[in-house]
């Protein structure tokens, strides 16, 4: 069986729900109504929302695909994903607790560019074209911080009540990690299988090109939204 993974990746990008929404992935109105109606701690619903956000949030997922693309050892996968998790958890908690009012379009633009950055790095672009390579671990941590700010702005778009706030953010955060593990497992299985095929060597460059296209589309959407729907 010959599976053409770049094509699969593109297909997935096209068919993941809400692929081209104005903000990358708003919670739908029904969930929003729920969040606004909540008074007090509601761990399970907030965990569900966090997990759903991650599984259907292709901007975070594309970035993670880029991050684990060339990670062959489980130890490295765990290390990088932990750095990413550390980054986004810090800013998610701090952002909501401090009520940081960051423009969602700007954050989501940076998140889109983070996908382009990782794809470019995977292509060997930094070394070959710029003779310089950023420290990948630092980059993943820093972009994790931005992804967390994105999560925080999404959660703050709804009036989350003070009552049970910390419990609800923590639940949301925990849900994000569950969703991430779920999605990562699927991606890791697919990539690991692909690596055993001769097509991996040939098409990994193209696949990262496709990843870059996805990143640029996300970026274009956010810039357009920033300009025309402020």
């Amino acid at each position: 069986m010959r599976v053409y993974f770049p094509a699969l990746l593109l297909l997935w990008m096209l068919f993941v729900p809400s692929v081209a929404d104005l903000s990358a992935h708003p919670m739908d109105t029904q969930n929003a109504a729920f969040v606004q109606g909540v008074d007090g701690a509601a761990p399970a619903p907030f965990m569900y929302l966090g997990a759903k956000h991650m599984v259907t949030g292709y901007d975070h997922l594309l970035f993670l695909v880029g991050v684990i693309f060339f990670l062959y050892r489980l130890r490295d996968v765990v290390l990088y994903v932990s750095l990413f998790t550390l980054g986004h958890s810090v800013t998610l908690l701090a952002g909501v607790l401090l009520g940081l009012d960051v423009n969602a379009y700007i954050i989501d633009t940076i998140i889109g560019l983070s996908v382009c950055y990782k794809a470019f790095e995977n292509m060997g672009g930094f070394e070959r074209l710029l003779n310089w390579r950023p420290n990948t671990r630092h980059a993943v941590l820093v972009f994790g911080l931005f992804h967390g700010l994105g999560l925080a702005t999404k959660l703050q778009e709804f009036t989350v009540t003070e009552n049970g706030l910390v419990a609800n953010i923590l639940s949301f955060n925990l849900g994000v990690e569950f969703g991430q593990i779920l999605a990562l497992t699927a991606v890791l299985i697919a990539i690991t299988y692909w690596r055993t095929r001769p097509t991996f060597e040939r098409h990994s460059f193209v696949a990262n090109g496709a990843l870059m296209v996805g990143g640029f589309i996300l970026t274009a959407q956010q810039v357009y939204g920033y300009v025309f729907y402020p």
């Binding site: 081209a20 929404d21 104005l22 060339f70 990670l71 062959y72 050892r73 382009c116 794809a119 470019f120 790095e121 995977n122 292509m123 060997g124 672009g125 070394e127 070959r128 074209l129 990948t136 690596r195 055993t196 990994s204 460059f205 990262n208 090109g209 496709a210 870059m212 296209v213 996805g214 990143g215 640029f216 589309i217 970026t219 274009a220 959407q221 357009y224 025309f228």
Partner: protein, 195 residues
């Protein structure tokens, strides 16, 4: 199985030119997809004419009107509730059928708006709004075909009069009540006895 450890595409195998071309191509493809598909489908903006050509513009249209097959009705009812009496007042609505309503009472009553889908076991109902109030108004879109309506209960010591106005696509008003002794039956909007 042994894997060679590598953390990027082998730099020796890819020329500078190829990376540069790929990055620029990625940007161009993204701009093309964005202007050709995302803009018309999401924002109704069609700079290349591809939205018209591929029918993507239809995705951007906001559905502001839903046309209805069934008869449009407006009704006004007056209900009297003796102390500790309750009444349940329901309509039949098809799934997606809409109704506007407003009601006011001469005193606070306990109420809820609830619905029971066709085929649900007896006594099963989903409650959508429940409070103690002297008035409420809003719009309702039936989430399923079945009976939909209000329950009011007079928890006070004096008779309460409730006036309900509805408009929309419903039919078959139905009243169930627990009457205090000696209380008269209700008439519907046409003056016919209910039940």
């Amino acid at each position: 199985m042994e894997f060679a450890i590598q953390d990027k595409v082998d730099p020796q195998s890819v020329s500078k030119r190829k990376i540069g071309v790929a990055a620029v191509a990625a940007l161009l493809v993204a701009v093309l997809v964005f202007t050709g598909a995302v803009l018309p489908a999401e924002y109704g903006v069609d700079p290349l004419g591809t939205g018209e050509l591929l029918g993507l513009l239809a995705l951007a249209q906001v559905i502001a009107i839903t046309t209805e097959e069934s008869e449009y009705r407006t009704d006004e009812y007056e209900l009297r509730l003796a102390p500790s009496e309750w009444v349940e007042y329901t309509y039949r609505l098809q799934e997606g059928g809409t109704m506007l309503y407003t009601w006011g009472a001469t005193g606070p009553v306990e109420y809820n708006f609830h619905s029971a889908p066709d085929g649900a076991p007896p006594g099963y109902a989903e409650s959508f709004d429940s409070a103690e109030s002297a008035s409420a108004n809003g719009s309702y879109v039936a989430p399923f075909t079945g009976v939909h309506g209000w329950y009011w209960e007079n928890a006070g010591n004096e008779e309460i009069v409730i006036t309900l106005s509805t408009a929309g696509f419903y039919r078959d008003a139905h009243v169930a009540r627990d009457r205090a002794d000696g209380y008269r039956d209700l008439l519907d909007a046409r003056g016919d006895p209910l039940d």
